[in-house]
Symmetry: C2
Subunit: 318 residues, 2 copies
């Protein structure tokens, strides 16, 4: 399948890293992903009582970083720049369903109790708490329906898809993202070490980022060396992304971010700036970006989007 | 794989419907399933902060009706009485993970706000609300990790397993169980028709019961006629089971049930006894059991457990 907007969203196949226009690339990818997310939501009838809350949270913005990484990993190992296969796009979007469910549940009063997300009311404020819990449950379950759908299965190998379902469930479940959220809640009000904080984020945000890259690479036909390299890349940028998030919560612009800043300090949250200070946090994030770039050493220019994304992680303003 | 307790839990292969000892059969199946559920939980390290809440709700009792139906469907289409294949057992158990997550979330203060379940404190009372939400999320996600695990995949066909993942996600998701719970919440305080109530329960409890039978049948190698018949059986006993639940909430013994009775009437819930009266509700449940038995007309004695379960549905006291 070609991306419906591929003339707009893809760089010229021969673009070098210097010429690479990340802003245009990200905007194009986001447009393509947003379109596919909307298409996936269209399979749920409009009369469905959960659809408004699911669509509100899923289609109401977001950087789409996980599907973008999934697509970029597939491209880095060989899927041509101007083509996106439906299995890769749907897998990336299924991961975005999971990411969105996790945000809805994290924002609940019993958890982080946040009222604002992506510049809009959080799901339980816009609807109510019961609807938000169920919309989260629905998005998580729907993700697995998408991953295992016959439409995708017939375009790739069922064995490969099943192993991707397994990897994504593992990354999102009690030994992955959910464990990270539990550690995060348990750590509130406690002093943790940098190692403990790294473990927490490795689970809470890192696991889903790593599996986005891993799934894209698998579907793109990566070699085992390529998969290992992308794992190291994912490990590094996942953590750098979180450190950058912590930094933005200190010195970001709430209007650009679409959410309040200073909230981590108010809640005495364990963050990198709180543990290491702002300057050492920035240096750590930069060294992680360097590690990520190093991990891509053997990749050719097809990995330029991944390289540009790594640099962007610490430069982004939202 | 043989059931580790199969000497205890299986009836003699030639047992006729008259001789069939359902109590012993259900107790044996439950022991076998409880053992496998515990084994599946063992894959999560004891240091995992979510494990206690997951294990509390998953391993703290329950009739295991969904895995029992999954196993019975596989047997009805050919899996020998004294054998249970690991894919069938794990699939039934994965569905029990999903059922347990749905109970944890349904009991939350924002939903049904129940303090007692299976004779013990509900998860959010025994732990706290945030832990209960995350334990539910973890159980749901872990179910898909179990279904797609390489251990199971190598014992059956990946294509078949993928279609089972798809069917289970569909049954549990926004067009299945979660939609039923949303309809249930929306219907509180409103007057609904018998048809609407049937639709609600067809989603809230029926979808997962039907897919338990369907998945067991698929894994047991059912013909398309057998699958259709088991679908009709599931449709009928799923609804009969719910009507029996409503009746037990009126005239059950709270000590035997392990939960309070009369709560539906207090909350002005839409139930069959409220809509039709007790006597007509009992007659409807009985006629559904008759339909279920009729659906099994072409099956031989290997379907005796399913026949006995259908009769039990309206006779049970908890």
């Amino acid at each position: 399948m070609n991306c419906p907007k591929n003339n707009k969203c893809m760089p010229a196949a021969g673009a070098s890293v210097e010429e690479f226009n990340l802003t245009a690339y990200l905007a194009g990818e986001k447009e393509c992903i947003d379109g596919h997310l909307a298409k996936l939501m269209d399979t749920i009838p409009d009369t469905n009582l959960l659809k408004p809350a699911m669509a509100y949270s899923l289609l109401g913005g977001g950087k789409r970083m996980r599907p973008i990484l999934c697509l970029a990993a597939a491209r880095a190992v060989g899927v041509p720049f101007r083509e996106i296969t439906e299995p890769v796009l749907s897998t990336g979007c299924a991961i975005e369903f999971i990411h969105t469910y996790s945000l809805i549940h994290d924002d609940l009063p019993a958890m982080d109790d946040d009222n604002l997300r992506r510049g809009r009311k959080t799901c339980h404020i816009a609807f109510d708490e019961a609807t938000a819990i169920l919309a989260g449950d629905a998005l998580l379950t729907q993700a697995f329906e998408i991953l295992a759908s016959p439409d995708i299965a017939e375009k790739t190998s069922p064995g490969l898809l099943l192993s991707i379902v397994h990897a994504i469930a593992r990354a999102a479940g009690p030994r992955g993202m959910v464990a990270g959220q539990m550690l995060d809640l348990a750590a509130e009000g406690c002093k943790v070490s940098v190692d403990e904080l790294q473990q927490l984020h490795g689970l809470k945000t890192g696991a889903l980022i790593r599996v986005s890259l891993g799934a894209g690479a698998e579907l793109g036909g990566a070699s085992s060396d390529q998969r290992e390299a992308l794992k190291r890349y994912g490990q590094a940028i996942g953590l750098a992304y979180q450190i950058a998030d912590d930094i933005l919560n200190v010195e970001g612009d709430p209007h650009v971010l679409g959410k309040a800043v200073g909230t981590d300090a108010q809640r005495h949250k364990n963050t990198y700036p709180a543990l290491l200070g702002l300057s050492a946090s920035k240096a750590l994030a930069q060294s992680l970006v360097d590690n990520a770039l190093q991990a891509l050493g053997t990749f050719d220019k097809k990995a330029d989007p991944l390289r540009a994304i790594a640099r962007y992680v610490v430069l982004r303003r939202y």
